[in-house]
């Protein structure tokens, strides 16, 4: 065979039916799956923190600082999958230096910066300022200097100054809630606005993304909260854990209802793309959609958490149940992102055929490359918990 056509024949083995040439290889692979996953965790964890601070769910107090730090460490990594997905990663800053204000994708840089600089950093700073001042007077060596820098040279811890911390922190949290909605609603917006793709193009997309973000963020903080207590050999505050479980249940119910609404609507309308979409759901996406996303990630957690609202097993068992459901939910939401991003590229926009996707092991777009971006946030979080241990905090917000 002519070597110039070899790649073509190899590529065609992946294809069923008719497909346009530019649809054979997926442009967005696992890194673009991670990006909405990680931003979702950021927004979700932040919303859990706001539940405590703004909506005054006091039982959640022990998770407040952990939720903020979790949100922060994942936010620091949120752009990395995107940057490494670029053909020229070193040019990523151009999106900020030459902003294109009518492009939804380009606006992400600003949504991100706003959320990082104005919301999360400030909220953590106001919350920790009192402690930073105290710690900067106690410790020795490097750590002391880090604290000194972090106080920005303000030593004032008079009651008046502290009450300003409270007020400003509160204001930032209030701004933060719509910002978190913006951050993640935005990601859904990107997919929802691709009108040529019937699997993505629905106005519900931002809302679905938002609620699935809450689900995953709450589950993540729950798991981290339990791990932190386990590592520190502390008893877990069961009242807090039960409350997280309850809110996780609520979030899953809303999320599931919205996603079901979306699908039922698709089935009922059954427009010209429906046959393909139906084949997609019952074929290429069967395991990840029905198996992982719906059964493992939604139905089982719903049953377990729902059951625990009526009957509370012994503490040890309950902890295990929470831990396992937390993990299941995290896996389920990962596959929800997978089904959106990968699923949307598996069928031809001619609605006459499919391509297939195989995840490589190595390479920036491979499994290991992606795994790095799921591990790094935990390392950052470990560092932050060491630097700013919530359990050593003296100050309390109201």
């Amino acid at each position: 065979m002519d070597p110039r056509f070899e790649h073509l024949y190899e590529a065609l083995t992946k294809v069923d039916g008719f497909i346009y040439p530019n649809e054979i290889d997926l442009a967005w692979s696992v890194l673009i799956v991670l990006y909405p996953y990680i931003t979702g965790l950021v927004a979700g964890a932040f919303i859990l923190a706001s539940l405590e601070r703004v909506f005054k769910v006091k039982a959640l107090k022990p998770t407040y600082a952990i939720a903020l730090l979790t949100s922060f460490s994942f936010l620091l990594v949120a752009t990395m999958p995107l940057i490494f997905h670029l053909g020229k990663p070193l040019r990523f800053f151009e999106i900020l230096t030459t902003p294109h204000l009518t492009s939804a994708m380009a606006v992400f840089g600003f949504v991100y910066l706003w959320y990082l600089m104005v919301v999360l950093l400030l909220e953590i700073w106001f919350d920790y300022r009192h402690d930073l001042v105290i710690w900067s007077n106690q410790g020795r060596g490097m750590k002391k200097w880090i604290y000194k820098i972090l106080t920005l040279g303000i030593k004032d811890i008079s009651t008046e100054a502290l009450s300003w911390d409270q007020k400003l922190g509160y204001a930032v949290t209030i701004i933060g809630i719509p910002s978190a909605f913006l951050l993640h609603g935005y990601v859904g917006f990107i997919f929802g606005s691709i009108k040529a793709n019937p699997w993505w193009s629905t106005t519900l997309m931002p809302v679905i993304f938002l609620f699935s973000a809450m689900v995953s963020g709450i589950a993540l903080v729950m798991v981290i909260f339990m791990l932190v207590n386990y590592i520190r050999k502390e008893k877990i505050d069961m009242k807090c854990l039960d409350t997280i479980g309850k809110f996780l249940l609520y979030a899953i119910i809303i999320d599931f209802a919205l996603e079901a609404l979306d699908q039922v609507h698709r089935f009922y309308v059954a427009d010209e793309s429906f046959d393909t979409i139906y084949l997609l759901m019952s074929g290429k996406l069967y395991i990840t959609l029905i198996g992982m996303q719906i059964i493992v990630g939604t139905v089982i957690p719903l049953i377990v958490l729902g059951f625990m609202q009526f009957y509370k097993p012994k503490v040890k068992i309950r902890q295990w149940l929470y831990f396992i459901t937390g993990i299941l939910v995290l896996v389920g939401i990962f596959f929800m992102r997978w089904n959106v991003v990968i699923g949307g590229q598996l069928f031809s926009k001619s609605f006459n055929g499919f391509t297939s996707f195989k995840l490589d092991l190595i390479g920036a777009e491979g499994f290991l490359g992606a795994a790095i971006w799921m591990i790094v946030p935990f390392l950052i979080l470990a560092f932050l918990l060491w630097l700013l241990p919530p359990w050593k905090k003296i100050s309390e917000h109201f």
């Binding site: 002519d2 110039r4 008719f18 400030l122 300022r129 100054a161 300003w164 911390d165």
Partner: protein, 145 residues
């Protein structure tokens, strides 16, 4: 104004000023000359090596094949879809030779049966059973099938 706020405002202004300064150096000079992109990019792209030439350029020398093609069923095919990119050949016709796709699989790329492809677009042929023992071009002239 509380001291925290004043300090933060100061810090943010410093950030913004640094950003503006950095931006000044990072944005290429020709940016925005014609639109939201680097103006020089146009020249750079224009100076890239050409690969495809189009039918008119081939017909200048291969005029008989050109008329043959126009009169037959393959009239709206590009020469280069079968023969490959022709720029180098146009410059050095005698030294740089183009492909001659003479195998059955070469025609099958377009004519094999494919249920998903519209029948009225390209005539489909059952390649495995349509005179399997010989090459397509022994019976069909590729330029006027």
């Amino acid at each position: 104004m509380p001291i925290q706020l004043r300090r933060l405002l100061l810090l943010f202004s410093v950030f913004i000023i640094i950003f503006i300064v950095i931006r000044h150096f990072l944005v290429p000079d020709s940016f925005g000359e014609f639109g939201h992109y680097r103006g020089d990019a146009l020249d750079e792209i224009a100076s890239q090596e050409v690969k495809f030439m189009g039918n008119q350029s081939c017909v200048a020398c291969h005029d008989s094949i050109g008329t043959l093609l126009i009169e037959g069923y393959h009239d709206y095919l590009q020469c280069e879809v079968c023969h490959g990119p022709g720029y180098q050949h146009n410059v050095n016709p005698v030294t740089y030779h183009l492909l001659k796709p003479m195998e059955r699989t070469d025609c099958a790329k377009c004519h094999s049966q494919n249920k998903a492809r519209a029948e009225d677009g390209i005539i489909q042929q059952d390649i495995d059973n349509h005179h399997p023992e010989r090459k397509c071009i022994e019976c069909h002239n590729p330029h006027q099938p």
